[in-house]
Symmetry: C2
Subunit: 190 residues, 2 copies
DNA sequence: GTCTATAGGTGGATAGAC
DNA sequence: GTCTATCCACCTATAGAC
């Protein structure tokens, strides 16, 4: 049985927001310790090294993301509606003043430990696969249109959403993201 | 008269590559000093603080970028060709294993000193303006197609290129960028 | 302009008491 | 599990000699 609110999860909650707002190289154990009112040493009990923390951060983020995609699958049958809801996830993250965790880590790729790199790419892999599936479904049902493979179109969509999100955040204008996302979706027939 | 090879420029050259590969929070004066065979102290003579260095880095990057756009303007009259050459600039940066300097800084926005934030946004402002101009030219000449304003379409293009670049670099696959870029251009009628 | 030397701070991480 | 205390490497930055 877990504690009332599991300590490791609370650490991950704070660390997640820190990475999404300041980046993996932009926060320290001291930041988390201060936010939770504990010492740095006790954080090391739960996550021995920063690399361990980072890796678990990505894995939890992917699990939560996949759960959100599963909800879309069960609640929305229409391909166009599924894509709209997919893009809305990004928009909600941005309205909370955050970048996508993995978009952030992609920028910091050059300094990440290998285990984090692998997990980060896996996040994009599963995202692309899910989108590609929706795109192909939409094409079969003649509700979506795109040239080339579903995977290629999916990659362009993910890249477009991540980039638009990153720039919109620098301007503090979530509307910039919305405009770009709507355009990307429109090009797919949404 | 400048030295044979101006020291400040050589510092900026090394720092530029470091930011583009490791990020602003991912390099130190020690890295530059080692690469140039000088001490950290002498770097501070040329750039008193890291914020000064970062700011001058962006300003030089924007000047060089604008010069490249000016070359496109004089050498290519066709709107479609101009966009292809614009996207090719990004592709060349990526093939050199670098991210766009300002795309990198956009990710690190949360930790940047205000002067760098201002310069970074200015880079995107001038990029968007240039693209918007090309898009509107192409629309008048009935060679390009897009809905809404040229600025909105320009923003979606910049975001799409930056995001695709960032992810392609994480996979070490420049081809991923090329595929996404071609798709973004195709949606504009290129 | 570049050097040596160093200040003053923060980084991640560990040992051992409670 | 959390604490105090501490280590050592690294960070940005400065003073002052050459």
């Amino acid at each position: 049985m877990a504690t009332v609110v599991d300590t490791a999860q609370r650490i991950l909650d704070v660390a997640e927001r820190l990475v999404q707002t300041r980046g993996y190289n932009g926060f320290s154990y001291a930041d988390i310790a201060e936010a939770l009112g504990v010492t740095k040493a006790s954080l090391h009990y739960h996550f021995p090294s920063k690399g361990d923390l980072g890796k678990q951060l990505i894995e939890r983020y992917e699990r939560n993301f996949l759960a959100a995609l599963a909800r879309i699958d069960t609640q929305s049958a229409d391909a166009r509606q599924r894509l709209r809801r997919y893009a809305a996830i990004y928009g909600d993250v941005l309205k909370d003043d955050r970048m996508c965790l993995c978009g952030m880590l992609a920028a910091e790729f050059g300094t990440l430990p290998e285990p984090m790199r692998i997990d980060m790419r896996h996040f994009f892999d599963v995202n692309e696969r899910w989108i590609a599936g929706v795109l192909e479904q939409g094409k079969r049902e003649k509700k979506l249109k795109f040239t080339g493979t579903g995977v290629d179109a999916a990659r362009a969509l993910v890249g477009g959403l991540e980039g638009a999100m990153m720039i919109a955040r620098s301007y503090g204008e979530p509307a910039r993201f919305k405009a770009a996302a709507d355009r990307l979706l429109a090009d797919l027939g949404v």
